[in-house]
């Protein structure tokens, strides 16, 4: 027997009763009225059972998992694309489905890497995209341009020349990075976006400013919505993560720990007393515990694990 949808008016009544009775202060009278309503029609009871089942399922999952999973951001771009596509499909003549009439879009699900995950993928135009730990982005190629919305994290993009001559844009809330072909590192911080060019040229366009800034190979700058910083040279070891390495030269330990922490779940706490110790070297990111052990051997520090996910780095008391 095929299920039939509950009529909206009944669903609404059931919802009102259900929510009302969730209140611990619901009166006995209200409870009795609700029972009477449920009993008065099989659809009423059916609607009630759906609500109950849904609530039970909801509580089946630990809240700290359910909430971020179910309330995750849905890409606004994708929703707009979906609307456009479904309107086109539902209406009009058969000709709408011909390739040349539909907007030529190839879009993918939101791309994400977990903490500590790195991923590389080839895009439909042949460009190579490297995603670092904790990155979230959307790819939106169209006939006019190749766009990548970077919501979080860090990428290295090897943007190839496009047979269609479409520009490549990396878009963040600070502004956009425009290139025709380049090898570029883009990292999103909370308030700004940092861009470093390894090969080729890019143009930075802050969102709220008419100025633009051109960067060539070996250069780096930061961008906020209001404008771009001055140009510096590409930081030492900036692209080392692409090869799975963390490469530093005389970096303050606190900064090093902060960077390392991006690749690990949990807490890495650095004692302020040793924050200014300097560290240099190239470290393999596939085993962050090994890096922590190396710290204990090369610096006067003590690494202690409260749990697997909580590590303290303190001054070593000899």
């Amino acid at each position: 027997m095929s299920a039939s949808p509950i009529p909206r008016e009944i669903a609404l009544q059931a919802a009102e009763w259900f929510v009302h009775l969730q209140d611990p202060q619901a009166s006995a009278e209200a409870k009795a009225k609700c029972m009477a309503w449920r009993a008065s029609h099989p659809q009423h009871e059916r609607a009630w059972q759906f609500a109950l089942h849904f609530q039970q399922q909801l509580h089946h999952v630990p809240a700290e998992i359910a909430l971020p999973a179910l309330d995750r951001p849905r890409s606004p771009d994708r929703r707009r694309l979906v609307k456009v596509l479904s309107i086109l499909l539902m209406s009009g003549t058969g000709g709408l489905l011909a390739q040349q009439n539909l907007p030529w879009q190839s879009w993918k699900a939101e791309q994400r890497t977990a903490t500590g995950e790195q991923r590389r993928q080839r895009l439909s135009d042949g460009s190579l995209l490297h995603m670092n730990t904790g990155t979230a982005l959307d790819i939106a190629f169209s006939r006019q341009q190749r766009v990548l919305h970077l919501h979080q994290g860090e990428i290295m993009l090897e943007a190839h020349d496009d047979p269609l001559q479409r520009p490549f844009l990396v878009q963040t809330t600070a502004g956009r990075v425009l290139t025709l072909g380049a090898q570029v590192l883009v990292r999103r911080f909370d308030q700004q976006t940092r861009v470093g060019v390894q090969q080729g040229t890019v143009v930075l366009g802050p969102d709220a400013s008419p100025e633009s800034l051109r960067l060539s190979a070996g250069q780096q700058a930061s961008m906020q919505a209001q404008g771009a910083s001055s140009v510096t040279s590409l930081a030492y070891g900036a692209g080392a993560w692409v090869h799975g390495e963390l490469q530093v030269e005389r970096q303050a330990l606190a900064d090093f720990i902060a960077e390392l922490g991006r690749y690990r779940s949990g807490i890495l706490r650095c004692d302020p007393a040793i924050a200014q110790l300097e560290i240099s070297g190239t470290f393999q990111l596939d085993d962050t515990d090994r890096i922590l052990q190396a710290l204990a051997h090369t610096l006067p520090v003590h690494v202690s694990y409260r749990t697997r996910y909580w590590v303290n780095i303190d001054a070593r008391h000899s």
Partner: protein, 175 residues
Amino acid sequence: MSTTSPHQEVQALYCAHHGWLQGWLRRRLGNRHDAADLAQDTFVRLLRLDQEQRPQELTRPRAYLAAIANRLMLNLYRRRSLESAYLEILAQLPETQVPSPEYGLQILEVLHELDAILARLEPKVRQAFLMAQLMGSSQQDIARHLDVSVRTVQRYITTAYAECIVLASSTPEMP
């Protein structure tokens, strides 16, 4: 009226349009493997329709097939986005709260079921609903967070439940 059996009708559609549909999907997905899977799923879905859900005649079969395939595509993206969000959440949890593999699979299944329904809600409605049900937030707190009145929050929560009832009771995933 048609004198052929439903299976024969679907088979005729398959022969005439399967190749086209697979190409259509491949251009959108950029991926042969997914395109082949979803093309198959589209026809399987057609086979599963009851007599009353099946359209009497198809003047534009490709539009109809594309509509089904489109819905399946959106579902695929939604499922993948849920799964990747789920993995990321697990990666951030303290060790004591990470579920065992078997339990984790169960949780994921339930999440899929919930997500399929919640995805259809307006964002603020969904947020109000989840904050009330999962966080036990007060209506005042939710109102402040969403920048709406308490009255609106009450309406959101009731609407959310009503939508869930309608959606859960409908035949899933009709084009």
